[in-house]
């Protein structure tokens, strides 16, 4: 019987948080007040300048396919952005506009990964990573990480775990779910190590911009032979617009061009025109205000979770997540999250969405809610813990 689900789907799981999210919505329909700290998207609306640019484009009615690689002027803006942010000279030919970082992953692995090849990544990490690899019949090689390396793969870990079937290494700095950075020196050593091994280095930089104590380094500062995945979703506040980008090494430009034509045709046109307005001084000022607000929230949530008895081995330096060890209260963080939602109406994401390593001892809090709402959540949490 051939009318069967493809084998790769056996290894691809739905996000556990979806179950909680659905229950949260049910409770809301029943009139309960739910505080959402599970959601991986900014609570801010898209900045007004970007909205206005999108509306202006729609006004013309001309929402036609663009070039597969994206609007030339947007690719140039992004190349310039690397110069301003990181002092990196980047040829716009290497920049591909994609439907989110999600589309960037599709493109990056589609053009580089052969069946059976392995991509190394940390456990915990962003849950979709493994599934993109599976989509192309590759294999994920998870390496357990903990606070001793800031929950990041280091050059040393990479070298120790690299083997015959390894194709490359994926890192994300700041990381989802831990919010931790790979320091500049460590990033460079990791890239050097992978380059020496002849492998592909995939750097997910989607949380760049949302960094609070120092700035994050881009992989492009240290090598041209890297894939950089980024997006307008998080820092730029454009989740639902579905727009991101991929930077590829020179030798992959032609392949990326061909594959993008075939699988995307193009990235949403109105989103591309809107994204152009992200680089104005006004918008940058607005994004900086938001960054400072996130920093305030992080400090507030971090202090208060510690007070309640959660352990947070590494103070998160970026993104909008705190990955908290709840082992003082439970050895089953999924049940913990479920009860917290039922009893107190606070929604968080269970560790098992991000891997297996110590997953049942962790939950992820997203500070995508105001300080006031988080204060209310913390009160509820305290009551919950005292039961």
């Amino acid at each position: 019987m051939k009318q069967q689900v493809a084998e790769r789907m056996q290894g691809i799981s739905a996000f556990y948080v979806m179950e909680l999210l659905q229950r949260a919505k049910e409770l809301e329909r029943l009139g309960r007040d739910i505080i959402h700290m599970e959601i991986g998207e900014p609570d801010f609306p898209t900045p007004q300048g970007v909205i206005d640019a999108g509306r202006a484009l729609l006004q013309t009615g001309e929402v036609k396919y663009t070039a597969a690689a994206g609007l030339p002027e947007l690719r140039s803006c992004i190349a310039d952005y690397y110069q301003q942010q990181y002092g990196v000279k980047l040829d716009a030919r290497r920049v591909f506009i994609t439907p989110g970082a999600s589309g960037a992953f599709l493109l990056a692995f589609g053009i580089s990964l052969n069946p059976g090849e392995q991509v190394m990544m940390s456990d915990p990490c962003y849950p979709c990573n493994d599934n993109f690899v599976r989509l192309f019949n590759g294999k994920t090689h998870f390496v357990d990480v903990d606070a001793t390396t800031g929950y990041q793969l280091t050059a040393d870990l990479i070298a120790r775990h690299w083997h015959q079937a390894s194709k490359g290494v994926l890192v994300a700095s700041p990381s989802n779910p831990t919010g931790t950075l790979l320091g500049e020196g460590e990033l460079q050593r990791a890239i050097d190590t992978v380059n020496d091994l002849g492998g592909c280095f995939y750097s997910d930089e989607i949380y760049h911009g949302l960094v609070y104590d120092q700035s994050a380094a881009s992989a492009l500062q240290f090598s041209d032979d890297v894939f950089v995945i980024n997006s307008f979703s998080k820092y730029f506040g454009m989740t639902g617009w579905r727009i991101g980008w991929l930077v590829v090494p020179d030798g992959f430009v032609e392949a990326a061009e061909k594959l993008a034509q075939n699988i995307f045709i193009s990235t949403p046109t109105h989103s591309q025109h809107a994204a152009l307005a992200s680089f104005t001084p006004e918008n940058k000022a607005e994004l900086e205000r938001r960054r400072l607000e996130f920093k305030t929230r992080r400090d507030f949530l971090y202090e208060n979770l510690l007070k309640l008895g959660f352990k947070i081995a590494c103070k998160p330096e970026g993104a909008f997540y705190i990955y908290a060890d709840c082992s003082a209260f439970t050895d089953n963080s999924f049940e913990f999250a479920r009860s917290l939602l039922e009893q107190e109406g606070v929604a968080v994401t269970p560790g098992r969405d991000f891997g297996q390593h110590l997953a049942d001892q962790h939950i992820r809090f997203a500070y995508t809610a105001s300080v006031d709402r988080m204060a209310a959540a913390l009160e509820r949490l305290e009551r919950f813990l005292c039961r």
Copy 2:
């Protein structure tokens, strides 16, 4: 050396028409007037009601991720649409909103196709089909078709070519590039045949609505065990919005849900809200006016190409293409297209973009230009042929 382009990319080619398109743009920059009959998208702007709905959503600033499968109300609208158009009762749970029909193909093959399995399709056909199959390390089994079967795979052809490694069959009616239909009876027989063989039936119905002499049947009229790929791009005039849909058999609902979460997160939110406005009576009336305009254009172009000496073995009944045999003038349609562009500024698509079978004897004309522009193109074409 692992830092190499994935092997699948060797078989994935850029569209030949891209070369012509680039040259056309160059010529335009030099001040030449180019008549575009190569482009596979409606020349009409997106209908005003849809634009307005998109603008209204942007106004709120809340362009957040939606559920991975799409807005529930849009899935319902589409399910209802099957009732109205085809008299088919369809559970909205089986409808997945995707980034274009392109996204629908990604999802359909991602959840059903194992490495090495073969998908049967006609030569000529839409060039991306084969490349979606390659993406997942499947194999395309091309079956040559000609006018005797209306350039379509029939039950008979399917049965004759089916073998051990066959996973399923992909048809498109109306077809790109030929504009021909698979008649209702033939479609039913094809589906029955594939179902009897236990295979997957993939029906690309993106040109439904753009049919001029009779209406096209949906695969869903004959079986629930089919994948239907469709889009807001063509009939609904929303190419650049990147929104389409996939209907899956019941047994694939869970897999589609999981994969969509992982590879898309969601389909552009503003596009989904805008698409909701496609189903109003005003919009339907506007789309009907456009359909009649396309019909006029088809008749005009068809008559005149015949007069010039092109052979068109099957009068196209849908889409906005005429696949014309130019063997009276050349045995290299790509060179023909190139010279036509250089000498007369008329852009068309060479047959080799759609396969190999008699490809050098065919070019595709898209009637996505007004009758006046096409009249000018025909004059130029006549002059070109008389040289």
